[in-house]
Amino acid sequence: MRVLLIDDNKDVAEMVRLCLESQENITCSVVGDGKAGLRAIREDTFDVILLDLAMPEFSGFDIFRALKKEDILRSKNVLIFTASSVTDDEVREMLSSGAKGVLRKPLSIDDLIAAVEGFRQNGN
């Protein structure tokens, strides 16, 4: 399974990668820049995309909106991965827009793994 993490925090990225890649058959790519992240989503195929919201210059929100506009959001498995407070209504809104889930930082590694594993398809 291929996982993309878009997050500008190196420590977070490192931890997530270590966590996920310790699982069976998961590769985790990390992009620390919003624009590069969007490009990566477009150009490459990932099974799960972990999207941090707060990033400088081009934020996760921007990526989210772009994907929505290009109407590819629903076809991707995007999990919002954020430390910002999001209300239940906002969560519902993002989910109805096409996000597949919202993960609130900090979360336990078990929850993180469980969330990602949910998108595994047939031994992928």
Binding site: D8, D11, M15, L18, P56
Partner: protein, 743 residues
């Protein structure tokens, strides 16, 4: 009515020594006459034909008799026919007797006193004394003759007038007569017009029609004369002009007649010139000739009517303007002074009772409002509002004395919040509170249905009843007048509403602001407490992680632990930063100031930093140097730790944004200040961030909270210094500088 006694009757002796006898002989007659005067006690009246006055003044004995009697206080009256022939004598006679009068065609002669009667033979010959006279002192006879004399006397005209008549050769006889014959009347009217020098007419519409239809030519002649300057013209007053009379009046106006209108004129009709007056009560409907007309050339009478006319003319309204305004549909309306407070009260109640659409009242004082209540206006208004859907608007000052009544009126038990003036709009009754004007006198003003106004002057506001308090009132249905009040009251109404709105807005804002201030305080306090609380768990995290790292430093676990430590430190820094920010915001940062030498201290600081920097791979390419541009040691009075915090912060920033090159810490002295700069060759500062660099809210363009610079500024400013930043001139990197005062 001359009673005659037959000249040949013999004297008959009567009961109490009274007698009637005939006197013969001129000398005896004269004697009798003289005697008559000497015996008279109160009055002696003489009635003689035109030949006698010369005798009266010519005959010495008679003349003397007159004088003596007058001197004794006897009232002398003389009645005769004054002609131009005996004029001189009569003039002299006037000086002798008290009153001299003239009567046309006097034939008889007699004298009468309170007790005696003497009647000389009637002679028409000049200067001849009567040879015979009748004498009587019988009471009945005397009385009767006195009666006769008095009658004649009343009909007589004073000598002065007769004399004037003669001297001015007047031939006009004054008379007052009622005419009933239509032709005669018509002639009289024509005559009036033709002989006039000025014509004043007071007429109903019927009279105008009559004049126009039947006397047009005479009228036109008169007007032609007036255009030539030979006549003073025709002036006409008539009653209220309405649609029926407009046409004819316009014609008359065009002809040149001056017309004025009198409202409420009763059906009077008269025409008066300088000489004559015609009056009638007859309506002359549709121009029908009057049935009876009174005609008089009696000067008194004529003048009487002339002055009545002038009185009416004075107050009349010019017909031209009146017609113009009727045709334009403008209603003049009237303004009436209502002199008594009781009448004003009646009108007041009536107006409110009959109001159809709206009533607007301004009570200038609280007492005014209370007083209206006593005559029942307020309850009438309430009724009008409830039953007939009349909109009631009341302007009044706010006062505790009126509160209950107001509540009663609007039927509300609304609670009054402090300072809240409700615009009470219940049951069509709207009350707004105004500021009481400080004046000597006030007036309650009522405007009903935008058509009528009643202004009631408050003579004495301390009185409790309407009658006692109100002085003069002015009633008006004049459009301009009513509108003026409506306009002013409307303005006041609007202004009070706006005032209330703004006041309410202010109150809301005050409440909101208080709330916000409370929030602000809460936020401050809360962050403070929270930040302190956060320290608690961070401590063990940091401590434990460092211990474990030490134990596992040679294993694979070391990297995660480094990351853990790094992040724990970050948390700690963040918490401390938050606390610092709080201290700066609440200005409670405590500085541990010491005097120390700055330049050496900086050198040491930089040296330590250089060491630590060298441990990081990525930062190896950076050269860190110090520059000292000072002539002598610089001593500052500062908090070392805090100052170190600032310099570390600046160095951290520079390091973060510089991949390679030089970071220089430059110290120099200038104007009793020490200036320390940290100059790098890094990315420089983006222009849009530059203005907000030292504020709390820099965007997250780099990692970290960005509070460092804000805190640095706080620290420097707490020391009395300044801090600033700018990009370098050579385009490479930026320089952060702060100043400190030196002692």
């Amino acid at each position: 009515m001359t009673a005659r006694l037959t000249p040949n009757s013999t004297a008959k002796p009567t009961k109490t020594g009274t007698t009637t006898k005939v006197i013969r002989g001129t000398s005896k007659v004269v004697d009798t006459e003289v005697d008559f005067f000497s015996k008279a006690r109160n009055n002696a009246d003489t009635y003689m034909n035109y030949t006698r006055p010369p005798l009266a003044v010519g005959l010495e004995p008679i003349k003397k008799a007159f004088h003596d009697a007058k001197a004794r206080g006897v009232h002398l009256r003389y009645l005769t026919e004054i002609t131009k022939d005996n004029l001189i004598y009569c003039k002299e006679l006037m000086q002798i007797v008290h009153d001299l009068r003239h009567l046309d065609g006097i034939k008889g002669n007699f004298m009468i006193s309170e007790s005696e009667y003497v009647a000389p033979l009637i002679l028409f010959e000049h200067r001849k004394v009567a040879p015979q006279a009748v004498y009587s002192n019988i009471k009945e006879v005397v009385e009767q003759q006195q009666y006769v004399f008095d009658n004649f006397w009343n009909m007589a005209i004073p000598a002065e007038e007769r004399i004037k008549e003669i001297e001015e050769r007047r031939t006009i006889r004054y008379e007052t007569k009622v005419f009933r014959d239509q032709d005669e009347i018509a002639n009289k009217i024509k005559y009036l017009l033709e002989t006039s020098g000025e014509l004043l007419v007071c007429s109903s519409f019927g009279g105008l029609q009559l004049g126009y239809h039947s006397f047009l030519d005479s009228g036109k002649d008169v007007l032609a004369k007036s255009r030539r300057g030979e006549h003073k013209g025709i002036r006409l007053v008539t009653k209220a002009i309405d649609r029926d009379s407009i046409e004819l009046l316009k014609i008359l106006l065009d002809m040149g007649i001056q017309i004025r209108e009198i409202k409420n004129m009763p059906p009077m009709n008269f025409s008066v010139t300088e000489k004559e007056v015609h009056t009638t009560i007859d309506e002359m409907k549709d121009g029908k000739m009057a049935q009876s007309v009174l005609v008089s050339n009696e000067p008194v009478y004529v003048n009487h009517f002339r002055s009545i006319f002038e009185e009416l003319w004075k107050d009349g309204i010019d017909a031209k303007t009146r017609i113009a305004s009727i045709e334009e549909g403008a209603d003049l309306g009237e303004v009436e002074v209502v002199p008594t407070s009781s009448r004003a009260g009646e009108i007041y109640l009536e107006l409110v009772r009959n109001a159809q659409k709206e009533v607007m009242i301004m009570f200038p004082t609280p007492n005014a409002f209370l007083r209206q209540h006593t005559i029942g206006v307020v309850s009438l208004a309430k009724e009008a509002a409830q039953r007939r859907n009349v909109k009631i608007r009341i302007l009044m000052p706010k006062h505790e004395s009126t509160e209950e009544l107001v509540r009663n009126l609007t039927g509300t038990a609304e609670e009054q919040e402090e300072g809240y003036h409700p615009s009470r709009h219940i049951n069509n009754i709207d009350i707004r509170y105004i500021e009481q004007a400080i004046l000597d006198t006030h007036a309650t003003i009522l405007v009903v249905d935008k058509k009528t106004s009643l202004v009631m002057e408050i003579r004495d506001d301390s009185k409790t009843t309407f009658e006692e308090a109100i002085g003069l009132s002015t009633y008006s249905n004049s459009k301009a007048g009513v509108l003026s009040y409506l306009s002013l009251l409307g303005n006041l109404w609007l202004q009070t509403e706006l005032y209330q709105q703004i006041k309410e807005s202010s109150i809301r804002l005050e409440v909101a602001n208080e709330k916000l201030k409370v929030h602000d305080k809460m936020q401050q306090e809360f962050i403070d407490i929270a930040a302190h609380e956060l320290r608690t768990p961070i401590q063990p995290i940091l401590g434990l992680s460092q211990i474990i790292r030490h134990k596992l430093k040679d294993t694979d676990c070391v990297e995660p632990l480094d990351i853990i430590i790094r992040n724990a430190l970050r948390l700690q820094r963040l918490t401390e930063d938050i606390l610092d920010v709080q201290k700066i915001e609440s200005q409670t940062m405590q500085l541990n100031k010491e005097r120390f030498e700055l330049s050496e201290w900086i050198s040491n600081l930089v040296a330590d930093y250089r060491n630590d920097l060298g441990k990081e791979e990525e930062k190896k390419a950076i050269k860190l140097i110090t520059e000292l541009n000072i002539s002598a040691p610089i001593v500052v009075d500062a908090d070392r730790n805090r100052l170190a915090q600032v310099i570390h912060n600046l160095l951290n920033n520079s390091v973060r944004y510089t991949k390679e090159g030089t970071i220089a810490v430059i110290t120099k002295e200038k104007d009793q200040q020490v200036i320390v700069s940290v100059k790098d060759t890094g990315k420089g500062i983006a222009l849009d961030i530059l203005p907000r660099l030292f504020s709390k809210f820099v965007t997250k363009s780099y990692q970290g909270t960005g509070l460092g610079l804000y805190i640095s500024r706080g620290i420097i400013e707490a020391h009395g210094g300044k801090i600033w930043a700018e990009n370098n001139d050579d385009g490479k990197g930026a320089t952060f500088t702060f100043s400190l005062p030196t002692k």
